[in-house]
Amino acid sequence: MLRYVVNRVLLAIPTLIGVAVVTFFMLRVVPGDIVEIKLRGDGGNVSREVIEQERERLGLNKPLVIQFVDWMKGLVTLDLGRSMWTGNPVSEEIGSRLELSLQVAVMAAVIAVLIAIPLGTLSALYRDTAVDYVIRIVTIAGLAVPSFWLGMLIILGLLWAFNWLPPLTYTPFYVDPIANLSQLIWPALAVGYRYSAVVARMVRSSIVEVMREDYIRTARAKGVFERLVVARHAMKNAMLPAITVIGLEFAFLIGGLVVTEQVFNLNGIGRLFVQAVSRNDFMLIQSLVMLIAVVFILVNLVVDLLYAALDPRIRYR
């Protein structure tokens, strides 16, 4: 097991390098760079020399390979470089926003799991009955409603019904839990609804599938009490795909917050990302992509470990 873990961690390194290479060179193909936006702003009259000076200062004039090597050297020493827009360390820019995004993601995940597992199980157990149909419609609707639209409806609904809106700026939970929750519960709901739908569907279908397997049928034929079958056998095996989905979706949630943060005007990494992209702030984009990649790989690792622990049939070589 330990060897397997070490192996997986080592395997993550080439993946990360691959992500770095692809990101870096893809961005460099995009026409335009940050200097023009930064200096010209609303049509500022700036000479070409000044623009070239700024490019020089930001290292944009160096050969691409050198730029890449510089960046990788920084990454190895955990130095993410500086935002080309503000000149502040990237770690600072991200750090101040990560807390908010993570909190929304975690809240959405909790909401999702709390709703999804009972709903999915019920739906599977009462397959093809009215209960199943209702649950399926609710969960499929969850997949269908775009979270940005749901967000818009939530905001407009709050405004229309209560003439009230969530706080504009972020307050950490440990400072003022009420202000914190009253701001973040809404985006968490908007995102969590979809999330729960994904998980519930996976729970349902994997339970349905497992229930058809021979050993369950045997257990049922032997007269083992149905609920016991579900609890002991079906649930355990059905949880594998569910865990995968919970994990994968969580990793993607950070990226998926891009649109939602825009709708709710949240100062999280999703919005930071959109800003960085619209300004061509390469250093910041690169680092954000790497961050998401690391989160993703970590989550995957955990999922795989759980897989291995839960299903001894799957062998790793």
């Binding site: 995009v30 269908a144 599938e209 058809r212 990649a293």
Partner: protein, 296 residues
């Protein structure tokens, strides 16, 4: 209903299959009808709508729903129903094409990866990991910015590629895990022992066994592709004005009119939801119905 309208032209075996689907999966059949209606409306949009989706009509700005404009008009006086119907064309074509592209590529990669196993599997999985670790928006933005917008028959090919790429690793992963257990089956060992070529084993023996998950994912990813296109257009990275697209109709200042013109916020959102809902429901029903394991 779908069966009775199209049934006469089908051979009896398939007709009975369709009938059975309708009887066994009423929800799925209903979803199929919804999709069919949308597809027909999109295909024959030129004949069924009285307005040009891109023509600006300043005399009818922000008109409320009326017989002339059943869903009202937007800030440019463009008929919202017309734009939703043409928007269906955008959504369905982009959804179907990008899902097909992504799923096909993903399935081949997934099955091959599982079949060959070992070093190949590792390399392919690393590559899948790399792709999977990218935020979709970056991929989409970079692809669109890099290649520009290339319209073929009014469809942005680059946008399709941008939406298809994130689908590939997901499908590859799921198909791989499905194929992994198939690989362990005795009959694959038998086929190998019989000296069949890799291609033959992959396509003849392994692929048919992943058809069910493939079809299910295909419908599910059409839904997801429609959603992604809507989100990208909402952010201004997808379809651009004046082309009609549902996400685009929600962008900008659509919500400014929520009191005086709520139809601008409601109908495009409903259209997205309905389309995605129908594809998901169909996928779900297909899943229950197609998978031979579920037949008792």
């Amino acid at each position: 209903m779908a069966a009775t309208t199209t049934g006469s032209t089908l051979p009896s075996r398939e007709r009975s299959a369709l009938l059975r689907f309708v009887v066994e999966q009423p929800l799925g059949a209903a979803a199929f009808v919804v999709i069919l209606v949308m597809a027909l409306a999109a295909a024959f949009a030129d004949w069924i709508v009285p307005y040009d989706p891109e023509a600006i009509d300043f005399s009818a700005m922000l008109a409320a729903p009326s017989p002339a404009h059943p869903f009202g008009t937007d800030a440019f006086g463009r008929d919202i129903l017309t734009r939703i119907i043409y928007g269906a064309r955008t959504a369905l074509s982009i959804g179907l094409l990008s899902s097909l592209l992504g799923c096909a590529a993903g399935a081949v990669i997934g099955v091959a990866s599982a079949y060959f196993g070992g070093r190949t599997d590792l390399v392919v999985q690393r590559f899948v990991d790399i792709l999977l670790s990218f935020p979709i928006i970056v991929l989409a933005l970079v692809v669109v910015a890099m290649l520009g917008r290339r319209l073929v028959l009014g469809i942005d090919v680059n946008l399709i590629v941008a939406i298809a790429i994130p689908i590939v690793p997901k499908v590859a992963r799921v198909i791989r895990s499905a194929a992994l257990s198939i690989r362990e089956m005795p009959y694959i060992d038998a086929a190998r022992a019989a000296g069949y070529s890799h291609a033959r084993i992959i396509f003849r023996h392994m692929c048919p066994n992943v058809v069910a998950p493939f079809l299910i994912m295909l419908t599910a990813f059409i839904a997801q592709a429609i959603l992604l296109e809507a989100s990208l257009s909402f952010l201004g990275l997808g379809v651009s004005e004046p082309k009609p697209a549902w996400g685009l109709m929600l962008a900008g200042n659509a919500s400014d009119f929520y009191r005086e013109a709520p139809w601008m916020v409601i109908f495009p959102g409903l259209a997205i939801s309905l389309a995605v809902f129908a594809f998901n429901l169909l996928g779900d029903s297909l899943r229950d119905w197609l998978d031979p394991k579920f037949r008792t």
